[in-house]
């Protein structure tokens, strides 16, 4: 993803920070899975590994293009990085939606269809950004419901994180017609990951 030229290094830096946080969340989810053998936590782990990998690849490809800006032949890396990041997120959020559907006892036909969406539209690039927003909004609603039940800070932080990521992807969508929105999208995305970091720090603080 290109964005305004003045924002070039910052975008990559934000993606690297988000990558580190995503991997930290994945690690915590893996620890939780090993202890409980709860499958939904394995999905959470895989999901954040994919999100982290996508962000790292996108950040690296943007950085390579930035460092080798004199060589136009490297420009195609923008597309490669973005595509990999995009599909990694698609599968990751699809997995998270599946995890929420999986743990819900009363499955409805609608939610079953919802879980299958990323598979059905996997190759439709024209609508993929909208599908990401759709998946993220679904996850944000689920985490919002969880917050409304538990009313604690950790669940609020997770809800805030997914709400921010949803808004970030709306900005990414608008960016395709208004380049000014790219920095807003990156900043909102980073904010979402920072909320997840705050939750991790709270969970791991000494008793």
């Amino acid at each position: 993803m290109v964005g305004p030229s003045w924002f070039f290094g910052f975008g990559s830096m934000m993606e690297f920070i988000s990558f580190v946080i995503a991997i930290a969340v994945a690690y915590q989810a893996l620890k939780a899975y090993k202890l409980s053998k709860e499958k939904t936590l394995l999905y959470l782990n895989l999901s954040f590994v994919l999100i982290g990998a996508g962000l790292l690849i996108d950040g690296l490809s943007s950085l390579i293009v930035l460092l080798a800006r004199a060589h136009r032949e490297f420009l195609y890396l923008f597309g490669v990085g973005y595509t990999i990041n995009f599909f990694a997120q698609l599968v990751a959020y699809g997995l998270l939606v599946y995890a929420y559907v999986h743990q819900t006892r009363n499955l409805t036909a609608a939610t079953e269809v919802l879980a299958a969406v990323p598979v059905m539209f996997f190759e439709r690039n024209a609508v993929t950004e909208l599908i990401l927003i759709f998946l993220l909004v679904y996850i944000a609603i689920q985490t919002g419901i969880n917050y409304s039940i538990h009313k604690n800070t950790n669940s609020m932080l997770v809800f805030g994180a997914f709400a921010s990521l949803s808004v970030a992807h709306v900005f990414f969508l608008i960016f395709t017609v208004a380049p000014l929105f790219y920095p807003f999208a990156q900043i909102t995305q980073l904010f979402g990951f920072l909320l997840l970091l705050a939750m991790l720090l709270r969970v791991n603080q000494p008793a």
Binding site: K31, A32, K34, L35, S36, T40, L41, N154, L157, N204
Partner: protein
């Protein structure tokens, strides 16, 4: 931390979870009782039958997470390993709960 090998892999996940949950509930009761809980307290606190209480107390002792400390009466307390396990479990439970997942 209770090693993975203590619970046979062949058991269905739901059964494993319920067993882990019972272990943790029993250990929470002991911790709540200032780390000195009589069997009756654990029985009521963790909502168990007498047979299951005896079975699980033996299992927890063999795992090294609780110990019998009473001289005249039977009293159970958490070991260092048990306290560490419970602290780890609390973190994991808090993390999963933040996402709305149950353990």
């Amino acid at each position: 931390m209770i090693p993975d090998t203590q619970v046979p892999a062949a058991k269905p996940a739901a059964k494993y979870r319920s067993q882990l949950r019972i272990y943790v509930d029993m250990m929470y009761v002991i911790q709540r009782e200032n780390n000195e809980a009589k069997p009756t307290r654990i029985l009521y606190g963790a909502n168990l039958s007498h047979d299951r209480l005896v079975k699980y107390l033996e299992e927890l002792q063999s795992l090294g997470v609780i110990q019998e400390t009473g001289i005249d009466d039977k009293v159970y307390s958490l070991t260092q390993k048990g306290t560490e396990f419970l602290n780890n479990f609390r973190r994991v439970e808090s993390f999963a709960s933040a996402f709305g997942f149950k353990i």
